[in-house]
Symmetry: C2
Subunit: 254 residues, 2 copies
DNA sequence: CGGGCTCTTGAACGTGATCAATAAACGTGG
DNA sequence: CCACGTTTATTGATCACGTTCAAGAGCCCG
């Protein structure tokens, strides 16, 4: 558990103390188990928790009046969502599981307590929102300016990378559990057109479809074909401002 | 100055103490003056500051290899940008002034000091990133799912509202200093097509063009025509978690 | 065996892009 | 105050990327 995706991903943002890690461990006890296709959140509904995915994939999306959907982002193991509920006290999007998923729920009350006792840990949660910003910028470019093939390619390459980050050994095979409907809802395209683009990608040996979802076969070539530059996904290692965040954890008080 | 846009906007997020306000006042002394059309930041370049717009408008955008641009957002008086540099130590976008602008620059060092002495104030800065998230969700829906007319309408209605937030009296007229190029770069459309849509909007008396930019004449009707729902722009007033953020400011230590 | 999902295919259509040319507005220096 | 270069707005004709609608096939799971 100490080497779970949750720890790995939050540790990118802030240097957790052993006490902070233990505290986090307690926060993650008793997660919600969510079956594939089940909804966890409905947009506009009151919400007083933030969430952290322990395993499985979920999608965050907006439901449009005309029946359409826009996927705002996916959440993979180790990723946080629902931070905005701290400000808005409601959910800004719906959340639905793509696969069976296990999701830790941290109430605002618990988060406030964390803020007091382990400000660094709390900051790590807030900083995930900052990091999300970088991803959203990339998506805006994708949706606004790139043709369908590149849009889909960028999505796949980003998700493959994020999926790899939550793995223990970075060389394991990665499968993206996406349907063509998810891809369409996320790239602003329609299912039939996504289907046609995927056929091209398969013909070019960029990827293949399996029972567990799709697999990138040749990420390098695909990245070149699509002009993908992934530096926005990696935080400059050990930013130094974290050293200045006071940590009034037990070890320092005693 | 105590009633400047900067104070008004940050106070939406956190309850600033008088000491915090004074400290902020000091942070905002000696802003950078930026002439219209001048660039302040270049994407990928190292950056060790965060910024707060005191007056004027700027755009944050990405420059594409093919010469195109995608505007990621605008920043109006009272709004913060460059928070991501805390994590990435570089700028993720270029920043250029639309009008003459005055911009406060807060180095990471100064921000770290703020974090120690006025954690609430520092939190207010971090929370602007959370609030931005809500805006980016809306933009993703806009870019991914809405036709040109609605896209442009949503942009205008959001910006008009944000512009109004930074005014002392909320009933003053608001002018959006946008060229058709800005609108195109932001909505993922082309300039000629934006032009055609604007002609429709003018024909329908939704807006007019003046020397200071465009003015919304009938926001209500335009909002209905475009299905605009602005609740994502307003924070649920006085979230209660802020009361639990420790503030080791002078008044409480003494 | 039946009912959803998911994937696939075809034909016609339309929103918005592209390219090119012109006109108007503006600021700046001579 | 005018001349000029630059930025911004406008218009037309053509083109294409991606949509729409509809139908059928495969598949998984109860």
């Amino acid at each position: 558990m100490q080497d779970s995706p949750a720890f790995r991903r939050l540790s990118e943002l802030i240097d957790l103390t052993p006490q902070g890690r233990n505290y986090l461990l307690a926060l993650l006890a008793s997660p919600v188990e969510l079956a594939a296709r089940r909804k966890l959140l409905d947009e506009h509904r009151p919400c007083d928790s933030i969430f952290l995915v322990l395993s499985g994939w979920v999608q965050l999306f907006r439901q449009l009046k005309d029946g359409g959907r826009q996927v705002l982002n996916f959440r993979l193991p180790g990723e946080v969502f629902g931070i905005e509920s701290l400000l808005y006290r409601r959910s800004l999007y719906s959340c639905q599981a793509l696969t069976n998923a296990s999701i830790a729920q941290i109430s605002h009350n618990m988060f406030e307590a964390t803020q007091q006792e382990f400000p660094r840990l709390a900051s790590a949660f807030l900083l995930t929102a900052v990091k999300d910003g970088a991803i959203h910028y990339e998506w805006a470019v994708n949706l606004g300016r790139r043709p369908a093939f590149q849009r889909i390619a960028h999505l796949f390459l980003e998700l493959e990378r994020r999926a790899r980050m939550s793995l223990a050994s970075p060389d394991d095979d990665v499968h993206l559990p996406l349907t063509q409907q998810h891809i369409a809802d996320c790239t602003g395209l329609t299912v039939p057109y996504v289907n046609r683009i995927l056929q091209q990608m398969r013909a070019l040996q960029f990827l293949e479809y399996g029972p567990q979802g799709l697999t990138i076969l040749d990420g390098k070539r695909l990245a070149v074909a699509a002009g993908f530059e992934p530096d926005y996904l990696e935080v400059s290692w050990q930013t130094n401002w974290q050293r200045h965040v006071p940590e009034n954890a037990p070890e320092e008080a005693g």
